[in-house]
Symmetry: D2
Subunit: 236 residues, 4 copies
Amino acid sequence: MARSDLIGKRVAVLDKGWVELQDLMGDDNAIVAAARTSFLGESKGPEKDKKLLFYLMRHRHTTPFEMVEFKFRVRAPVVTWWQWVRHRTFSFNAQSGRYTPFDEDDFYLVEADAWRRQSPSNKQASEGLLSPEEGARFSEALQRHYEEGYRLYRAALDAGVAREQARLFLAGFGVYYTWVAKIDAHNLMHFLKLRMAPDAQYEIRVYAQAIYEHFFKPALPWTAEAFEQFVLRGEE
Amino acid sequence: MARSDLIGKRVAVLDKGWVELQDLMGDDNAIVAAARTSFLGESKGPEKDKKLLFYLMRHRHTTPFEMVEFKFRVRAPVVTWWQWVRHRTFSFNAQSGRYTPFDEDDFYLVEADAWRRQSPSNKQASEGLLSPEEGARFSEALQRHYEEGYRLYRAALDAGVAREQARLFLAGFGVYYTWVAKIDAHNLMHFLKLRMAPDAQYEIRVYAQAIYEHFFKPALPWTAEAFEQFVLRGEE
Amino acid sequence: MARSDLIGKRVAVLDKGWVELQDLMGDDNAIVAAARTSFLGESKGPEKDKKLLFYLMRHRHTTPFEMVEFKFRVRAPVVTWWQWVRHRTFSFNAQSGRYTPFDEDDFYLVEADAWRRQSPSNKQASEGLLSPEEGARFSEALQRHYEEGYRLYRAALDAGVAREQARLFLAGFGVYYTWVAKIDAHNLMHFLKLRMAPDAQYEIRVYAQAIYEHFFKPALPWTAEAFEQFVLRGEE
Amino acid sequence: MARSDLIGKRVAVLDKGWVELQDLMGDDNAIVAAARTSFLGESKGPEKDKKLLFYLMRHRHTTPFEMVEFKFRVRAPVVTWWQWVRHRTFSFNAQSGRYTPFDEDDFYLVEADAWRRQSPSNKQASEGLLSPEEGARFSEALQRHYEEGYRLYRAALDAGVAREQARLFLAGFGVYYTWVAKIDAHNLMHFLKLRMAPDAQYEIRVYAQAIYEHFFKPALPWTAEAFEQFVLRGEE
């Protein structure tokens, strides 16, 4: 896909979120060219270029993959942000709840058929779903609880309480939050590997998958193919 | 203060939080010795050592200060964690809300006389206080809202909802959270400078101050003195 | 200057070196837009945008400046590389002396009128010049010593000695070396501040100056103006 | 081995080099304790502790291994330093050739029976040895070339040439150089994996091996065992 079709593209995720590619530097050829610096070589055509890139991925020569940069703008619930921000190789600029008040509908609602059960075997994961009937009760309770929290938040703001403190009333894990995240392709692959994995929390996995399918693969088709083969499937 | 008196010491912060020094590597002399590597020199006594350390701080020769490491264990509300985790030079291990359920009293309560007003001049800050009478209303409302959220959280857990999802019911900014944070002295000073500043949010400032007064100053008295002179007061 | 005129431009430095901008992501507006994420704001025209950028620089709000990336290709003597590589925030891909043999004329020659005297006051710096007559003797001796070392290097290679070991014969500080260096604008400013300073070694200072004048200033004119005012001149 | 026997211990490497452990923070238990932060758990005895540590290594839960710090002082030829410094996760303080003149015998001499042949199959590596007779010629030539370079270096210094420039006369790859290098256990394992590998250059491999055998294994016996099993041998 053409670079110009990727930059500015926005993909919807969850009920009110999205991820957008704001800018992109480099492509598969930039990775190959960086690797060739070690022997001061020139391209010998796409077939050999692709072969070299696969060699780099297979043998974990990671520095050439640092030469490509992605800059995303993301809107996601805080529960997602909280896990995302643990990846220290991103550059972030994020919305400030101290500066900007939240809006009434800035909350992540779980649909009736999307309440996940605690996994009995994996203490950190979910497995299977509640019945939609049971789920409907929790979706309704969550919506009401969001509304009550937001009402108290507004009352505090109206009484002059500082935004940084009034947000204690909010259901902080579910509030939508916006940030810019910039990262190189090597470190992005590390993020994708961990956050696309089956045991990653659903609320971040769908963002990682959106990035991979809609931006990473079209921007770096050779790299994506080699990543799937050597990293995701673990071939040698 | 002796190193052995510092390691293991715990200081209370906010209503239910604390910060504890788990381990410490190095002291003022280690910083001076690292700096002397550049000229393969030896110590010429404490007076010259201290002078060299002040020279390093004044001229922002930062690498020797990376040679000292602090490892803390912290319990603080998520609103504090959220700001803390933006400092990418820490190594963190943190409690997992996916793994461990939260307890009923794991919430940060604002006292009646501690509700801060929005600053009229600084959009990101607070200034002054609500009257204790008005504050009492919000403290009570916050407590009730915490309880209601916790009741819904427990109900969801009891119905089998995964912990990672049930926490949407919680007042996520106010829940107490525990983590280990390790950092070198150079990057810790950067954290302290930003988070002890008057425009830092109160809920992180008190942690930064506790670290500075109870651990940083006793562990690195020369460094602390030079930090105050050249960084905090900006002398040249 | 247009982005398309900057990318691919190469500037000569020292006797046989150069620095070339291979790619660039972002501009002054990208920095301002990233900063506005904190309050989810939109541009209010160039005048206010520039004012905001100056505010960011003055108050050391550094993260928005991480949103711009420069990718350079550099040819410089190893004495320069050695200092450059200490800046750990660059992504590098470098020529490998294990892989590629060096050429006969890959050496940095000091002109007769460019031999610098040891500074009497600053143990790390130079000050003033040797007379051109005296300098001529050293230039000639250096050239002859380079040639002799290269002759021994070639003899070792011809006898089958591994390239990685044969290079011990070379005057390793003076050999020219090529690398790709990618960095964001915030960390590039830190590099420029230290390496354009009067006490930086001449052989890296000329590269830093070339980057600043030929690439940084035209790519980020507002940022450069603010950098000079608040960082280089230290105004407040 | 007791911590107090490790700190201060120095191991000889190559003809004139060494590596010394200057300080150490943490042990296997510190890694396990950091991991337990995620579920706020306590130790249940050494057997379960060890099992948890092996689980962490096997599943690449890397952050707990960041909680242990090693600080080394190293003396090695520049050809080693040059490769070492590419690992950006170390904190370094290094000797300055601008500040301190080099000594006459600060050079790495290759013994007659230690000249390695270029590998015919791996363009970056060596394989097999020259005959000791042939090697003797190169050892002698190298010694003479070092002496001539050093003579010119001293002559330049005596004429007042700045140290930073006079070093161009030296055989820069072979000169011995001293530095302090501090790193956490996770990133040290990454260094060890790459630099103990058979295709790493001999002159850095012997340092990596010395660190592993004399310091890493005695300091972190469980971690070393798990590292060998899951990382070096690649078991799953």
